[in-house]
């Protein structure tokens, strides 16, 4: 990249807002999808919306691609600069701008870490609901880009249900201020479209989120099984019984073993084939009522031991094992491929079994820890990216898992996004027409397609929309 570009950006963001040396750029070469890497040409770290807007306008004039990035905890390669250009990190945008206790919302800069927001409002008796496993590191801006979930989105919904306002900057450097909270969108729901767009429509710089009142009671139950199938069936039964816990998470035997061997040991029994972690929130009456209804269901499905967390410390410990499962997997291999398919919740058993078989027949080590209540599978395949043969088998297994889940009425991703990892799969799930309409929506924001190029939408689908008649001209109706 021309040195004048870095100098022009430096004039806007200062020395602290720019990383040009290779040593400072290398940490941004990938996110959690470790096998795909490319060092960005320049790393830009603006401090404000204004700096972001001026920088993007500067880059717009020069036609340079922009790759937005939060904390880099994503698992689909969404912030990997596959086509080079400027990587825009929100790491210096860390201000909690406002917490409105009366109206229960918070306005934060995009780089605020997820868990820090809850810490900032918990003394008001409020919390921010989406809780990805990476919540100690991931940012609210990154969560907006990916429409992130987490265990408790079973009850509370993913990020999109909690974002009530946004300030974002388009590829051309235009600031779009939709931060005024409103009961419903005024006009077209731009915020709803933007959330989950994986950085392809612009850079979110300020986010207004809904805060929820902390529940008066939370119950946590660990149900221990000798068979993974039975744990899956019990989740299907709980949902069919129309019960409303706030989280339903399953960890399989390999995950339990890894967690228990790590510093995150949660006291899960090592001889169990699976554990089901259940959270219930609400009034004491509600929590007790729901737990009382769940117990016979899991027992009927073969749970041989039930453990209730009696104290906050016990609850925290049970959840520490679940939240730390990905980190603990580092004990068995240097890299982890985390699949993220979603399936109908009535078909959990067969699809968890199918994904495990897909990995095992390729000689891969797979551990399952997943959001069972949402049907969001996470077969985690441990591998070493330096082993080319193993990497090829991992990618092959990943593709087959997605195809099997799609064939069962599932979807490519429940919370990690498409990124570069699942971009080929977009044409398995969607028709050319479906993708072309998405490309047309993208063109309304970024006609030059410089925002996060190579992500989410397959190039071929977008190229086809290029051959359409120019805007404003009547189209022939397809028959």
């Amino acid at each position: 990249m021309d040195a004048s570009v870095a100098e022009g950006l430096r004039a806007i963001v200062g020395d602290a807002g720019l990383a040009t040396s290779r040593a400072r750029r290398v940490p941004y070469e990938c996110d959690g999808l470790a096998y795909a890497r490319r060092v960005p040409d320049v790393v830009l770290l603006p401090r404000t919306t204004s700096e972001t807007a001026r920088s993007l306008a500067f880059l717009h004039e020069r036609g340079i691609p922009i790759v937005p990035r939060g904390a880099g905890t994503g698992l689909s390669g969404g912030s990997t600069p596959v086509e080079g250009g400027v990587l825009l990190s929100t790491a210096r945008m860390r201000d909690v701008i406002e917490i409105d206790v009366l109206n229960r919302f918070a306005r934060v800069q995009a780089g605020v870490v997820n868990v820090d927001l809850t810490h900032a409002c918990e003394h008001h008796g409020l919390f921010y609901a989406p809780d990805p496993s990476s919540q100690k590191a991931c940012t609210i801006g990154g969560n907006v880009g990916e429409n992130s979930g987490g265990p408790h989105c079973f009850k509370h919904g993913t990020t999109t249900q909690h974002v009530v306002g946004l300030v974002f900057v388009t590829a051309a450097g235009e600031v779009v201020d939709l931060s005024r909270p409103s009961v419903d969108p005024v006009g077209l729901d731009l915020v709803g479209l933007f959330v989950g767009s994986e950085g392809t429509l612009g850079v979110a710089t300020e986010i207004t989120v809904r805060l929820l009142p902390a529940p008066p009671a939370t119950g946590t139950l660990l149900a221990i099984f000798r068979d993974l199938d039975h744990a899956c069936d019990s989740v299907t039964d709980i949902i069919a019984a129309r019960l409303e816990p706030s989280a339903l998470e399953i960890l399989d035997q390999r995950t339990i073993a890894v967690v228990e061997a790590s510093v995150l040991a949660a006291g899960y029994p090592k001889d169990a084939a699976a554990v089901l972690l259940v959270d219930c929130e609400g009034t004491h009456v509600e929590v007790e009522s729901t737990m009382r209804a769940i117990e016979p269901i899991v027992k009927r499905r073969g749970a041989f031991e039930l453990r209730h967390a009696r104290t906050v410390a016990e609850r925290t410990q049970l959840w520490a094992g679940r939240k730390g499962a990905y980190g603990a997997m580092g004990r068995i291999a240097p890299d982890l491929y985390v699949s993220d398919a979603v399936v109908p919740r009535t078909r959990l058993r067969e699809l968890v079994r199918a994904t495990t078989e897909i990995c095992e027949k390729r000689g891969l080590r797979v551990a399952n820890v997943f959001h069972a209540g949402d049907g969001n599978l996470h077969p985690n395949i441990a591998y070493d990216r330096r082993d080319k043969d193993e990497l090829a088998r991992v990618l092959d297994a990943g593709d087959e898992i997605l195809r099997v889940c799609l064939a069962a009425g599932g979807s490519l991703t429940g919370e990690h996004g498409v990124g570069i990892e699942k971009i080929a799969g977009m044409s398995w799930q969607f028709t050319r027409e479906d993708l072309a309409v998405m490309c047309r929506a993208r063109d309304a924001f970024d006609p030059d397609r410089r925002m996060n190029p190579g992500k989410l939408l397959p190039v071929r689908a977008c190229m086809e929309t290029r051959s359409r008649p120019p805007r404003g001209e009547a189209h022939e109706v397809r028959t």
Binding site: N147, G187, L188, D189, L193, G196, G414, M438, A474, V477
Partner: protein
């Protein structure tokens, strides 16, 4: 017979073309009975350069901004029926013309609850409800409609049939275009089919009512109820009726939980009446259906409610007018029914004055059963920044380049 009606009848038959009116302007309404007919009608519109208004049951066409110069309405009421009901998964998919009552019945038969619980469910269609972005009387408990739309299949004005999302309760694959289409008022597409998330059907439903001499007392009790740990389906303050204000709180859910919530709320409210089962349902339905009478709806953040009500009172005093209100402090909306309007200049001035005063009090105002001249002169997008408005225009141009669908948002008509 008009040329438009003649051509529509040639296309889909005489019996499939009716009439409807927006603000006294009558125009043909074409009832498509198949997706092929929808495509044929759009092709006709493209060929003739006619602007189309997609219509559900037609009850909300006159809400909000006026569509610009439409030539005919396109109804998909003929496209009805459930295409998938996954009882165990808690999802339902249906064609856009299905009525909400029919879908609710299917959901109930499997022990599920369909939200939104909208006014006039016997005639309100799935497509119309989504197009209008209507959240029902149960919004306090379940959240806005847009959170429950899992996916959609639509047709654009150029005949492209495309889907987004799917039938799963969790799914982030691709753009959430279905969120964009929700509440887009037919600006971008005709909805053909949609999937909704369902919730557990309640074991027990009841309603608690209490009557007060002043609105402030009723609201104070409503706020106190909202501050408890109970999770009501709705908390409404209505009135004045014979000088009294009524607080209605609806509860639903597991039997023991509802019983606890009832006791907790009665302890706070003092003298109150508990309605069970059918009587509760009747009371809730009555509240729900009052939405159709509203002259306008004002929405505001909860902290702004006091200012909005003060602005309303001041305007009513200026115009010597009376109004009935349905106030939902939990979601911070006020439905205002201005009585005895006959579209006289004085009435128009009153509605216009109230709308402007509420806007000035930071409320988002949606005109509903308001005189045409008031709607024509009121820009609900005035609060939207220019850059966002430009993006909306750009999206419209990208998805409906020929401007075939009437556009109430980006270029509302001005009289």
């Amino acid at each position: 017979m008009s040329l438009v009606r003649e051509r529509l009848e040639e296309e889909i038959g005489v019996r499939a073309v009716g009439s409807f009116s927006v603000d006294g302007r009558s125009m043909p309404l074409a009832f498509a009975n198949s997706e092929e007919q929808v495509l044929a009608l759009l092709r006709l519109a493209a060929h003739r350069s006619w602007r189309v208004v997609p219509v559900g049951s037609g009850t909300k066409v006159a809400h909000g901004p006026m569509p610009e110069k439409p030539r005919f309405g396109l109804s998909v009421r003929g496209l009805s029926g459930v295409t998938a009901y996954e009882r165990g998964d808690g999802t339902i998919s249906a064609r856009a013309g299905s009525t909400m009552a029919a879908l609710a019945q299917v959901a109930r038969s499997g022990g599920n609850h369909l939200t939104p619980d909208v006014a006039g469910p016997q005639s309100a269609t799935l497509g119309g409800v989504i197009g209008a972005g209507s959240s029902g009387i149960d919004r306090l408990r379940y959240g806005p409609l847009r959170n429950h739309v899992l996916g959609m299949r639509v047709v654009l004005s150029d005949g492209t049939v495309a889907k987004s999302g799917g039938r799963l309760v969790k799914n982030v694959t691709g753009y959430d275009l279905h969120r964009l289409y929700t509440g887009s008022r037919g600006t971008l597409c005709v909805i053909l089919e949609a999937s909704l998330r369902l919730f557990p059907g309640p074991e027990r439903e009841l309603a608690i009512t209490a009557t007060y001499f002043t609105r402030e007392t009723a609201l104070a009790n409503a706020v106190a109820a909202l501050a408890t740990s109970a999770k009501p389906t709705c908390v409404c303050v209505t009135g004045p009726t014979n000088g009294r204000w009524t607080l209605t709180i609806a509860l639903s859910g597991r039997g023991d939980v509802v019983a606890w919530e009832r006791d907790e709320l009665q302890r706070i409210l003092g003298e109150s009446v508990v309605l069970e089962a059918d009587a509760a349902r009747t009371a809730i339905d009555s509240l729900r259906d009052r939405e159709t009478d509203a002259t306008l709806r004002a929405s505001v953040v909860p902290g702004g409610m006091r200012g909005v009500l003060a602005a309303l009172d001041a305007q009513l005093a200026v115009h010597r007018a009376t109004a009935e209100c349905v106030i939902q402090p939990g979601i911070a909306t006020v439905d205002v029914v201005l009585r005895d309007l006959e579209c006289l200049p004085a009435d128009a001035a009153c509605v216009s004055g109230v709308a402007r005063a509420l806007s000035d009090a930071d409320a988002q105002v949606e005109l509903r059963e308001a005189p045409a001249e008031v709607r024509a002169g009121f820009d609900p997008l005035a609060v939207v920044p220019k850059s966002a408005r430009a993006l909306m225009t750009s999206l419209k141009a990208s998805l409906d380049p020929a401007g075939r669908f009437a556009d109430p948002f980006t270029s509302p008509v001005r009289v």
